[in-house]
């Protein structure tokens, strides 16, 4: 557990007050220095705020790692249209459980970051789109929003600055795809959560047809710290191209699962064996998914890498949401990949044929192999189907389903073959 368990190697900025119930309240948040950054930002030129965030090198924490300041700078300046800031709090990627903690421990951290972001991009309304299952965090956020309004931090003329920013909490209703930014906009508008074709990009035509920016919870929670302490300070953490700290959410077969805030570039092996206390039950490591279920799997001997966007990509995977899923040697890789693929088959929005059909076929073929009725040709078939699902659809859900299949066949081919030859899992049993 990450809190109150603290590892000495952590650098706690966003997560400093996890486990501190007083920090949740407006009074408590202010006592801890909260809303000073908002006051500072409101005293700055809007473009200076964008510039500061740009200089900090902060990259989107929702998975893609796009520079936040650059994204903000795409918003038009004097178009006279309503602008919107959408907070992506749809956290649904298997392995990711960081935003829920940020919201339930420090709701005002998010509100403060969202207000600064809204000010910078000239948005008059912030919609916090939270996944529907998060009833508990939603109640906390609702209370925090009410506190913010009562204290004049939201609504008309916030903090006497002459700036109007409304905040509305919006609950989803159970659809992974709504974490994709254009699907989220459709869902917010009361439609099916199906992704839109880009361009036009949200900064031009977004929610309700107006210029819109969508940021992840963790991204926005980083913003107040950057404004308060400056871009240079932020750059003192992490690497040149991936500055700052990141919440690493570690699950699976480690001794201490949880959220650990570490500078980007922290070593994956050290994270697993030192920070998380190693592998459970005295077992050996078999595989790691470093960035949530949609990224390629890494073999146990590929984990001596720095956890930053570039290094993980170089190792053939992606940092994604830094949701590290650890599997020990008693794990049946085929079963877990099948479960992941079934998830994508369930969550496909059905819009694009390669995804709608492909995810279902991958699941069917994997179930066939798992049931002992597979052939060696099935492996080529899986790779072929996966290839046709990659880069052929509106969004990347399709690619995400294909990635774990292809990478696991490449790295654990023997295990697939053993299933085919013996009709059952020998790897998990032998370990």
């Amino acid at each position: 557990m990450a809190y109150p368990y603290r590892h000495e190697k952590e650098t706690r900025i966003l997560s400093e007050y996890f486990g501190d119930p007083e920090a949740r309240t407006l009074a408590g948040w202010r006592e801890r220095g909260g809303y000073q950054a908002l006051e500072k930002a409101l005293g700055m030129d809007r473009d200076a705020v964008i510039e500061e965030v740009k200089n900090s090198g902060l990259r989107g924490r929702g998975g893609a790692g796009f520079p936040t300041g650059v994204k903000w700078s795409f918003m038009p300046k004097d178009d006279g249209k309503p602008h919107y800031l959408l907070v992506n709090s749809d956290e649904s990627e298997p392995g990711a459980f960081k935003d829920r903690e940020l919201i339930r421990w420090t709701p005002h951290q998010l509100i403060e970051g969202a207000l600064i972001g809204a000010y910078a991009i000239r948005a008059q309304h912030v919609y916090i789109y939270m996944r529907g299952e998060f009833f508990e965090p939603a109640q906390i956020m609702a209370r925090a929003i009410e506190e913010a309004y009562a204290a004049g931090l939201a609504g008309k003329n916030i903090l006497g600055s002459g700036v109007d920013i409304d905040i509305t909490l919006h609950l989803g209703a159970g659809a992974y795809i709504c974490g994709e930014e254009t699907a989220l906009m459709n869902s917010l508008e009361g439609r099916r959560g199906q992704p839109r074709i880009k361009p036009p990009f949200p900064a031009a035509v977004g929610a309700f047809g107006m210029p819109t920016t969508i940021n992840n919870v963790e991204t926005l929670c980083s913003v107040p710290h950057i404004i308060k302490n400056g871009a240079e300070w932020y750059r003192s953490f992490g690497t040149e191209k991936s500055p700052g700290t990141k919440l690493f959410n570690v699950s699976g077969h480690v001794v201490r699962r949880g959220n650990y805030e570490l500078p980007l570039g922290f070593n994956l092996k050290e994270l697993i064996y030192d920070v998380c206390g190693g592998i459970r039950d005295g077992r050996k490591l078999k595989a790691v998914i470093p960035g949530g279920s949609s990224v390629p799997i890494l073999h146990a001997d590929e984990i001596d890498i720095p956890l930053d966007y570039e290094s993980v990509a170089k190792a053939g995977s992606m940092l994604g949401t830094a949701s590290v899923i650890v599997m020990h040697d008693g794990t049946c890789i085929l079963k877990q990949v099948r479960r992941i693929v079934e998830f994508y088959a369930h969550e496909s929005c059905g819009q694009c044929t390669p995804c709608r059909e492909g995810t279902e076929w991958l699941a069917r073929i994997l179930r066939r192999i798992e049931a002992g009725a597979g052939t060696e040709e099935d492996l080529d078939l899986l790779l072929d189907v996966g290839k046709n699902m990659t880069g052929t659809t509106i969004c990347v859900l399709s690619d995400s389903a294909a990635a774990p299949v292809a990478s696991s066949i490449r790295k654990f081919r023997e295990e697939y073959l053993a299933h085919i030859r013996h009709g059952k899992c020998t790897a998990a049993a032998a370990a």
Binding site: E136, A142, R143, E146, L169, Y176, G190, H253, N259
Partner: protein, 250 residues
């Protein structure tokens, strides 16, 4: 058998932490390290901070934040009266288009009635000036809207990868066994529906189970009987007795 107080029932058995701690090993918040000793459940869940959310939704900005999977449901209740009408007006005031109120309004309908029948969807369509077909098209896209009645307690067991690695399949089996149901069906006494859930976003606390509006974390198969008793103990007892009696008679 220990009778649960009303308060404990209301909190979904959460109170068991203090009084019957051994019954529910982990009421959904304690970490395995045991380091949570200095924090109460209210500290972690923020229940004191949140208080009781008003039916009219409170501040308009927070008006569509109410849990919409509750034990209490009335399929016959009117949808848009009293505080619910007030909440609807607040929700409508937050969006530039009426259609955007659809998800929150469907959620409110489910909160009141427990599920969305075609008739309920029609009522929602009327109040938002949408066609019933459109509303149905949207409602069926999202898994959290119940298109059929569910038990008093909807038990959603995450079996996705992170929970699966840590034994979620066994937890799911335990819930099915203890409730005597098949996946997705309502138990004979109307109390339980057990379904498999996709990732619930709490992967550090496997196995994660959502029962109505709250999460149970770090659930093991051994925890299941105690969890069921803590949420529905008082309700289960007479039914069990009745069932035994009925069985003997038949």
């Amino acid at each position: 058998m220990i009778r649960k107080t009303e308060e404990m029932k209301d909190r979904g058995g959460a109170g068991a932490a203090g009084t019957g701690g051994s019954k529910v090993r982990n009421p959904g918040w304690a970490g395995e390290t045991g380091d949570f000793g200095h924090l109460t459940e209210a500290d972690i869940r923020g229940t004191n901070y949140v208080g009781q959310r008003p039916k009219d939704g409170g501040h308009p900005g927070a008006s569509c934040s109410m849990p919409y999977q509750l034990a209490e449901k009335n399929p016959e209740a009117p949808l848009f009266e009293g505080p619910y009408r007030e909440r609807l007006e607040k929700i409508l005031s937050r969006y530039p288009e009426k259609r955007a109120a659809l998800l929150p309004t469907l959620a409110m309908a489910q909160e009141i009635r427990g599920y969305l029948s075609p008739e309920t969807m029609e009522e929602v369509a009327r109040v938002l000036d949408l066609s019933p077909a459109y509303v149905r098209g949207v409602a069926t896209f999202y898994t959290m809207y119940n298109k059929r009645p569910v038990g008093t307690y909807l038990i959603q067991v995450c079996t996705n990868v992170c929970c699966n690695l840590c034994g979620a399949d066994e937890v799911l089996k335990a819930f099915l066994r203890e409730t005597g149901t098949e996946l997705g069906e309502v138990s004979a006494d109307g109390l339980f529906t057990v379904v498999e859930a996709e990732c619930l976003g709490a992967c550090g606390f496997p196995t994660v189970v959502q029962i109505n509006e709250r999460y149970y974390e770090n659930v093991t198969p051994e925890d299941v009987p105690a969890i069921l008793e803590s949420i529905a103990g008082a309700a289960v007892e007479p039914t069990e007795a009745g069932r035994t009696g009925g069985g003997a008679g038949a």
